[in-house]
């Protein structure tokens, strides 16, 4: 009986989505195309992103839309498959003729989308914190980047815990480039990387790694392991009483490991973030209340979901200032350097040279009961690295991704 | 008469067991040569050595004057051997006609192929069943089909391993007549057989194997008259 009812519900849900899909979009609406995984391995992270976008769209539409035009959100689920990202990016741009494309989780999905967007004049907004370095005029990045996260956290860790660091990183571009950043910063501080271990995605057994760490005797560990399988490291390390301080650019505010694991697995974890649910400013509190009212089952509002929310407001600001949805007009607004919005974390602005976003960064630490404390407030930090190495999108569109060991040719 | 096939001290051991040891046989062009002997005498093993699915542990095999000891089976077939295995092995899921076709296409051009196909199907009395999958034929028919496939290769020497196994007496007799007819048209044949009545029907020369060795050889009359042969067959050959 119950089964049947859920089948019915399922069928009606199907027909509703079909109806929505078929409903003619009013000529006046602004179409936002959204690509977020809500199936597959990354559904855990994709769902809050979808929720964030939906919340922002609902709020803006209630308040009268963008320049009086309602927003129509078209979401497709690429199921974590890069080929699907490409298919759907094309579909959204060419068939649904969206005005802006938002989304993508992994760097690979972003790189899958970029070549397609480069052949159109539609804006693309990437809403994750990532390894940094993309210099592309067609893309805005609104997540935090290494100069906002590593250049703040690593000096703190070195000063507080010591100069010997051990790195465990996911063995793909994000982990490897993040490790490059760490190497450079630690070296500048006079510290040493006593061990670096790259772990293939999907690995979930860490006995050997834990022994290696014990042998190397580091002062602290940089954990940039990725994905649910690799997160098993924390419980296994806690069970082996490793008990070392840890730092990361993705733990706590992104993966909310302190909510998913039983204490004290995440004890002594440190991270620098533009958003985490424990921020308690009035703006943040109001935002959290709205979110939980709409999505009461959400375990944690992570920074990705928050960024996805903010991205829609940033887009609204850009279109209203440009009085146009055309990429060229929007880029004129960005070039003024005054493309700012008041977000729940505080004011965020888009940097004209790199089209990345400034953030107010805070250093947080997790205690043995998994409570999160703010240890330090860095204030607003600009995304300065790309412009330092010579990326200037106001003059030249490189369409490339740079890393500390792969700099633009002078 | 020219020898078409000759084995010289061919042996095959499995583990420590000698299945065939130091066997010399020769087959003359144009004859029907029967290989007989009790179960386990090594007849089928010898056949596999001749066609090449086993490589001998010692000795050599020559065919049409060429040493083929180390040749792979398909190379021996290309040089003019063909075989019908002990248990019928036809392409069970393919139609009867295609079975013949696959064997024929080897050396016959497209133009003549259809005619030859019909001729063989008629000869083998399989024409009415030509579109059936080979696996649907009766056991006896499958044997005939396999003989037909071996024949389709236009071989210089046909090796038939128990061509009448599982056949009714009537089918066995007709198979014997078919073999005699083919021989009359010039085909050389080496045949392993149990059924002594059948051997008597067709054989010209006979080699008897026992415990992996050649036990006796000679014209069919001599062999049948040899009391030692009768002995190893435990009286089986004493017909009246």
């Amino acid at each position: 009986m119950k089964f049947r009812r859920s089948l019915l519900a399922f069928a009606s849900a199907l027909s509703v989505t079909a109806l929505i899909g078929a409903a003619p979009a009013s000529a006046a609406s602004i179409k936002i195309g959204l690509l977020e995984d809500i199936s597959g391995d990354l559904a855990l992270l994709g769902k809050p992103k979808l929720n964030g976008s939906q919340l922002a769209v609902e709020e803006i539409n209630k308040a009268g839309g963008i320049m009086g035009r309602q927003i129509e959100l078209i979401h497709l689920d690429p199921q974590g498959d890069n080929a699907r990202y490409q298919e759907f990016a094309r579909r959204l741009v060419n068939k649904d003729k969206v005005d802006v494309l938002i989304g993508g989780i992994t760097s690979a999905s972003r790189e899958a989308i970029r070549p397609i967007m480069n052949r159109t004049d539609t804006l693309y907004i990437y809403t994750n914190q990532y390894e940094g370095g993309v210099c592309d005029a067609g893309m805005i990045s609104n997540g935090a980047v290494p100069e906002q996260q590593f250049s703040t956290m690593i000096p703190f860790m070195v000063e507080k815990f010591g100069k010997k660091v051990y790195v465990i990183a996911a063995d793909y571009n994000f982990g490897q480039i993040s490790a490059e950043w760490n190497r450079k910063i630690v070296k500048d501080l006079g510290g040493t990387v006593v061990g670096e271990e790259f772990i293939p995605l999907g690995v979930s057994q860490f006995a050997q790694t834990i022994q290696n760490i014990q042998k190397a005797k580091p002062d602290w560990i940089l954990t940039i392991n990725v994905g649910a399988a690799q997160d098993s490291f924390f419980e296994q390390a806690a069970a082996a009483k490793l008990n070392l301080p840890m730092g990361s650019s993705i733990k706590v505010m992104l993966g909310f490991e302190h909510k998913r694991f039983a204490p004290p697995a995440l004890n002594k974890m440190h991270a620098v973030a533009n958003w985490f649910e424990e921020i308690d400013t009035p703006e943040a509190e109001a935002f959290k209340k709205r979110w939980h009212a709409k999505f009461p089952n959400e375990m944690y509002i992570n920074d990705m979901g928050y960024n996805a929310y903010t991205a829609v407001y940033q887009y609204k600001m850009l279109v209203e200032a440009a009085k146009s949805t055309k990429l060229a007009d929007i880029r004129k607004v960005i070039a003024t350097g005054k493309a700012c919005v008041e977000a729940p974390e505080g004011q965020v602005c888009i940097d004209p040279k790199s089209q990345h976003t400034s953030h107010r960064m805070r250093l947080i630490a997790v205690d043995e009961k998994h409570a999160v404390k703010v240890l330090k407030d860095y204030g607003v930090i600009q995304p300065y690295w790309l412009s330092e190495i010579g990326c200037d999108l106001t003059k030249k569109n490189d369409k490339k991704q740079y890393t500390p060991t792969d700099l633009p040719k002078k | 008469m020219a020898e078409i096939l000759q084995t010289a001290q061919v042996s095959k051991t499995f583990g420590g067991l000698a299945a065939v040891s130091d066997v010399d046989i020769s087959v003359n062009e144009g004859e029907i040569h029967c290989l007989i002997g009790p179960n386990g005498a090594g007849k089928s093993t010898l056949f596999k050595l001749v066609i090449g699915t086993y490589l001998p542990s010692g000795g050599s095999i020559s065919f049409r004057g060429e040493n083929v000891t180390q040749r792979r089976p398909y190379e021996r077939v290309k040089r003019g051997m063909s075989i019908k295995m002990q248990t019928p092995s036809v392409f069970k899921e393919l139609p009867v006609r295609q079975n013949i076709h696959i064997a024929l296409q080897h050396h016959i051009g497209r133009a003549a192929l259809a005619r030859e196909e019909e001729r063989l199907l008629t000869l083998l009395e399989l024409a009415p069943d030509a579109t059936k999958p080979a696996g649907a034929l009766s056991h006896g028919q499958q044997q005939w089909l396999e003989i037909g496939m071996a024949l389709a290769l236009k071989p210089a020497l046909m090796l038939l391993d128990e061509p009448t196994a599982g056949m009714s007496p009537e089918e066995t007799f007709r198979t014997g007549e078919l073999i005699k007819q083919l021989n009359a048209d010039g085909m050389t044949m080496l045949i392993v057989e149990h059924d002594m009545a059948f051997v008597r029907q067709i054989a010209q020369r006979v080699t008897v194997m026992h415990f992996g060795k050649v036990f006796a050889r000679g014209a069919i009359g001599e062999i049948l008259a040899d009391p030692r042969v009768a002995e190893i067959y435990l009286g089986k050959t004493h017909e009246h």
Partner: protein, 347 residues
């Protein structure tokens, strides 16, 4: 030559079949004139994958060799196309890159195939070895993120994928280039499909086709009819794998992008799913079925959000349980039966 288009190895030999065939072809050729340009490009994209399925159908359905490694050759050709197109420069050289990429895929098939077939690897193990090969390649490419992994100008770029190659294009009069995207890619794909499909029909109904089905049925018997089984198996494997290579190179050209996830596990299982769903016994069924399943999966994913994977799974389950020879062959057989019954009714 044309006689060989029909024969025992392919379904659909009657006049009715060829009339349908030409009708479908005409509709396909006319399609871009009345369809949305996006849909045309999307169809072209589906067609790109069909080559890989046809190759697998040849190896598995006809030759009895289940290769789990179509993505291995897909990846080799896909990455080769990228590396070559970047290094040779764009323009007409992209077609040289396409040709060389397929050649490289065929060459690696020759080596891997030689190793397996001469090593008497058969049955399930054939699948396992090819699967291992494709996984090894995926792991290997996945860890090439560093700048040291470059071939000439082309960076492999690890898990994030290689990009920056030009799509297939030829210089045209007046300095303009024709880029194979959208409808021009569609026509290129249709032309290639036509070529490959008819070519495979001829191949399968020829001497060669007879031999490979014979080998599938009973390799020993085939050898005893005088065929060098290993050689025929190797040729089949190389042709099938080269077709996967064609898919790979076209895919890279289509998206100007390729990642190791096109080589790794879920991707490696897809061709098998398509071919098994369609009916591995026949190339026409594989052609139609693969196209249909690609369209269906995409449509489901677009319209049903989170339920998509459930629907796809249920579809697979239902197919294997209700139509064991494959969906398309099952449907074709029942149509055939229906037509026959009609034909007999008056008589």
């Amino acid at each position: 030559m044309f006689k060989l288009l029909n024969g025992p190895q392919t379904l659909g030999n009657g006049r009715a079949f060829w009339i349908c065939f030409f009708l479908v072809l005409i509709i396909a050729l006319a399609y871009p004139f009345f369809a949305d340009s996006y849909d045309v490009g999307n169809f072209a994209y589906f067609l790109i994958w069909v080559f890989m399925a046809l190759g697998l159908c040849l190896m598995w359905g006809y030759g009895g060799m289940l290769s789990f490694g179509q993505t291995f050759f897909f990846g080799i050709a896909g990455y080769s196309y990228g590396v070559l197109a970047i290094n040779l420069g764009g323009g007409g050289m992209t077609f040289v890159a396409l040709g060389l990429a397929i050649l490289l895929a065929a060459l690696s098939a020759l080596i891997l195939g030689y190793f397996m077939i001469w090593g008497r690897v058969g049955g399930v193990f054939f699948g396992i070895v090819t699967l291992s090969a494709t996984l090894v390649l995926a792991f290997f490419v996945g860890q090439t993120a560093g700048p040291e992994w470059r071939v000439g100008e082309a960076r492999l770029n690890g898990y994030n994928g290689m990009k920056g190659m030009e799509p297939l294009n030829i210089p045209w009069f007046g300095g303009e280039s024709i880029y194979f995207e959208g409808s021009s890619l569609y026509y290129l794909a249709i032309a290639l499909i036509l070529l490959v499909y008819l070519g495979l029909r001829v191949l399968l109904n020829s001497r060669f086709g007879n031999v490979i089905v014979a080998i599938r049925e009973d390799p020993q018997r085939a050898e005893l009819l005088g065929y060098d089984v290993r050689k025929y198996q190797l040729i089949t494997f190389v042709i099938g794998s080269a077709l996967a290579g064609l898919s790979g190179a076209l895919y890279t050209s289509w998206g100007q992008f390729i990642t190791p996830s096109s080589i790794g596990l879920p991707a490696a299982a897809m061709p098998i799913v398509w071919v098994a769903f369609s009916g591995r016994g026949d190339i026409t069924a594989t052609l139609i079925g693969t196209f249909l399943i690609l369209v269906a999966f995409q449509t489901i994913t677009v319209h049903s959000q989170q339920a998509a994977l459930i629907l796809m799974g249920a579809m697979l389950l239902a197919t294997v349980m209700l139509a064991p020879q494959g969906f398309v062959i099952g449907v074709a057989r029942s149509i055939g039966r229906l037509v026959k019954r009609r034909g007999q009714a008056p008589g």
